[in-house]
């Protein structure tokens, strides 16, 4: 207790290698950008430098737990940010809870991440909401009557989203049999022709295919090759440049929900973020990059508000966050520590992600 710290440490708990590396990298971009713009924080009346400590969780649960433990224990970080991938976040859950260090997930949408864990927050919406949004879009905007779901059965996110979509699509169409079929595939599969051929014979109006962009892009491409014309709908994970890069022309017209659209800056922070990002990278940011930016800002604001580096205090400050202006919209944490936020629907047009509409919660 003798020598007071002169820095505040924020731990970045992200997959930098392994299957989720792309997502991790995008979030880290946002966090780093925010750190460049706002490198310090005022605690009480003292100005502290914010130091980022990165730990690669390798997209692996055992590694993730070690990495998280290391962040809170050895690096003594005050807040943890991450991780892309809900199951990785869940591996960190008990650790941050035990050490009373608040953690903020940026894009982990699985409800279980924050459920029953007072120390885990998230700056994005959750899958039940996302599923409803897409069901709405399918039933109302596309006037679809019948849908087929093709999901990544070994991916918690995909399975969850598929279920939420199915439930609300059935409700919206008032048709118990509105889902013609649920087809599965596995992570890292590359050939989907069998599923798609079956799918084609079901003649759906719309296809819901939540899953990683890697497999999804191939699915859409192979669907086109098989002559499937029904539109593809998906979730936030599609928003990665590789989605278009891999799927090429086939992805034209694919629709998905996500957190943020650069075309519709919501707050002043959005503008700050966009300007800084475009200047630095001369390209358009992904939604999760904006969320990474927001995660950092919320953490910083909470520390400032708590006026202390004590975990429990920062946690309480976070719990009290109301309408915080983030780059990807206003952030208010509900009693489950999930942000109630609007969803953005985008499509691929001319080889670019294009804003379609915003759906309020």
């Amino acid at each position: 207790k003798s020598s007071k710290p002169t820095t505040v440490k924020i731990g970045i708990f992200e997959p930098m290698t392994g299957a989720n590396a792309a997502g991790g990298a995008m979030e880290v971009e946002g966090i780093k950008l925010a750190n460049q713009l706002y490198p310090t924080v005022k605690v009480g009346d003292k100005e502290y430098k914010i130091e980022l400590v990165l730990a690669d969780n390798k997209s692996d649960k055992v590694e993730a737990a070690n990495a998280a433990q290391r962040l809170v224990d050895q690096d003594k970080v005050n807040v943890v940010l991450g991780s892309w991938g809900s199951s990785l976040s869940m591996a960190a859950g008990p650790i941050v809870k035990d050490k009373k260090i608040p953690a903020i997930a940026m894009s982990a949408t699985n409800p279980l991440v924050t459920k029953g864990n007072d120390y885990y927050f998230r700056v994005c919406f959750i899958d039940p909401f996302q599923g409803t949004v897409m069901a709405n879009y399918a039933a109302k905007d596309l006037k679809a009557k019948k849908a087929v779901i093709i999901r990544e059965v070994s991916n918690d996110y995909s399975v969850g989203l598929a279920k939420f979509f199915a439930d609300s699509f059935k409700k919206l169409t008032g048709d118990e049999n509105a889902i013609l079929g649920e087809l599965n595939y596995n992570t890292n599969d590359q050939d989907f022709t069998a599923q798609l051929t079956t799918l084609k014979s079901m003649k759906p109006d719309v296809i819901f295919a939540p899953g990683n962009y890697t497999e999804s892009a191939l699915i859409i491409k192979q669907a086109q090759e098989l002559g499937i014309t029904a539109p593809f709908l998906g979730g936030d994970t599609w928003e990665a440049p590789e989605f278009i890069d891999v799927g090429k022309k086939a992805t034209e017209g694919a629709v998905f929900s996500t957190f943020f659209a650069t075309e519709v800056p919501i707050t002043d922070t959005s503008k700050t973020f966009l300007d800084a990002y475009r200047k630095q990278y001369s390209k358009e940011p992904a939604a999760v990059t904006a969320l990474g930016f927001d995660g950092y800002l919320v953490a910083r604001a909470a520390i400032e508000k708590a006026g202390s580096l004590e975990g429990a205090k920062i946690r309480d400050a976070l719990a009290g966050v109301q309408a915080f202006p983030g780059a990807a919209g206003l952030i208010t944490f509900d009693q489950n520590r999930d942000a109630t936020k609007s969803a953005v629907i985008k499509t691929v047009k001319g080889g670019k992600f294009t804003y379609l509409t915003t759906v309020q919660p």
């Binding site: 930098m16 737990a65 070690n66």
Partner: protein, 353 residues
């Protein structure tokens, strides 16, 4: 006299180890403690793999599957009904499991038993195969187990996995488990049954001609190893407090295999040393991915460097010390005295005492 001395040494070593455990439990920070406890789990896992691969000569790559079964069994038996309800939000859990809630030890035992039973079921057909064929078939079984776990939503919660397992894997659980495993292996390898296993490993036909029921020895050792793997998996689950099917891919088996081979296949000592060294080493190398790359955006290039170094070390060991650290030798006090690390018995000081 040498015997008495060696007993003394062993007693001292045990005491020192116990002291280390107490000290660790008291003074290690939770990160070090976690890594330290992970070491113990890897000891159990490495020994279990060494039992089939090293001592019975069965090339088995199915460990992840047995670990998964153990981890799931133990988790489902120990989680509170509330936790289960929270976890199974997509499809409710099967009724007969919903309200089961056992203390840890019986559940751990059950994990081992279920895994062993499965090992028995799988072993009965698979152990008719040999070498690489056995390896690929057991790997196949493990993958099948994983696929089944992924798809049986109302039993395992499928891809969502389980979260909120009670944190039972404390020092005083995992290290005794490791110690028991070591004791079991040492006693086994010194016993007649252990010799029968080694005989089967060296020459099946000759072993049969010695009246050894070769197939039975194989199945028993396979099931015993599955038991240990199941327990190890359960311990791992309760250390992480969350599990899902993706944890238990064949990469996990490979990792354990690497530990075993680095230590020396067929050596208990080797497995123990290597389990600790690899677990600690992997964490110690973390700096390669870490703060080095701060400030500039060299970031994308850096991560992964740790694994590159790890692979290089691994290859180095395999290439330059082909039989691993210990070969198939075991630690003994006389080994240390031969190496000059302990006073030789002949000129021992205990003569003065």
């Amino acid at each position: 006299m040498r015997l008495a001395r060696n007993h003394l040494y062993s007693l001292a070593a045990t005491a020192a180890f116990l002291a280390l455990l107490v000290a660790g439990d008291l003074w290690f920070d939770s990160f070090s403690l976690r890594v330290w406890n992970l070491c113990a789990i890897y000891v159990v896992l490495a020994l279990s793999l060494n039992l089939v691969n090293g001592f019975t000569g069965l090339f088995s790559l199915g460990h992840a599957g047995f670990m998964a079964v153990g981890a799931y069994t133990c988790a489902l038996l120990t989680m509170t009904p509330e936790q289960k309800e929270m976890n199974f939000f997509l499809a409710p859990i099967v009724p007969w499991l919903a309200h089961v809630h056992l203390p840890f030890l019986p559940a751990l035992l059950a994990a081992g038993i279920v895994a062993a039973a499965l090992g028995f079921l799988i072993g009965a057909p698979a152990l008719r195969l040999k070498d690489d064929y056995l390896a690929i078939a057991t790997l196949g079984f493990a993958e099948i187990i994983r696929v089944v776990l992924t798809n049986t939503q109302s039993l395992t919660n499928g891809a969502l996995g389980l979260k909120g397992l009670p944190m039972f894997s404390t020092t005083w659980v995992v290290w005794p488990c490791a110690a028991l495993s070591v004791a079991f292996m040492v006693l086994l390898t010194r016993s007649s049954y252990g010799r029968a296993m080694k005989a089967v490993r060296d020459d099946e036909i000759a072993a049969g001609a010695m009246g050894i029921d070769v197939f039975r020895v194989k199945v028993v050792s396979f099931a015993a190893s599955s038991f240990m793997a199941g327990v190890g998996g359960a311990l791992l689950g309760h250390l992480l407090t969350t599990i899902d099917p993706k944890m238990f891919t064949f990469m996990l088996t490979f990792n354990i295999l690497l530990v075993v081979v680095l230590g020396g296949i067929g050596s208990i000592t080797g497995s123990v040393i290597s389990a600790v060294a690899v677990t600690v080493g992997m964490e110690a190398l973390r700096f390669l991915d870490g703060p080095l790359d701060f400030g500039i955006f060299a970031l994308e290039a850096r991560p992964g460097l740790r694994m590159v170094v790890f692979s290089l070390v691994l290859m180095g060991v395999v290439l330059f010390r082909q039989r691993g650290l210990m070969g198939n030798r075991e630690f003994s006090w006389s080994m240390l005295s031969r190496a000059g690390l302990l006073p030789r018995t002949a000129e021992g000081r205990d003569g003065h005492a």
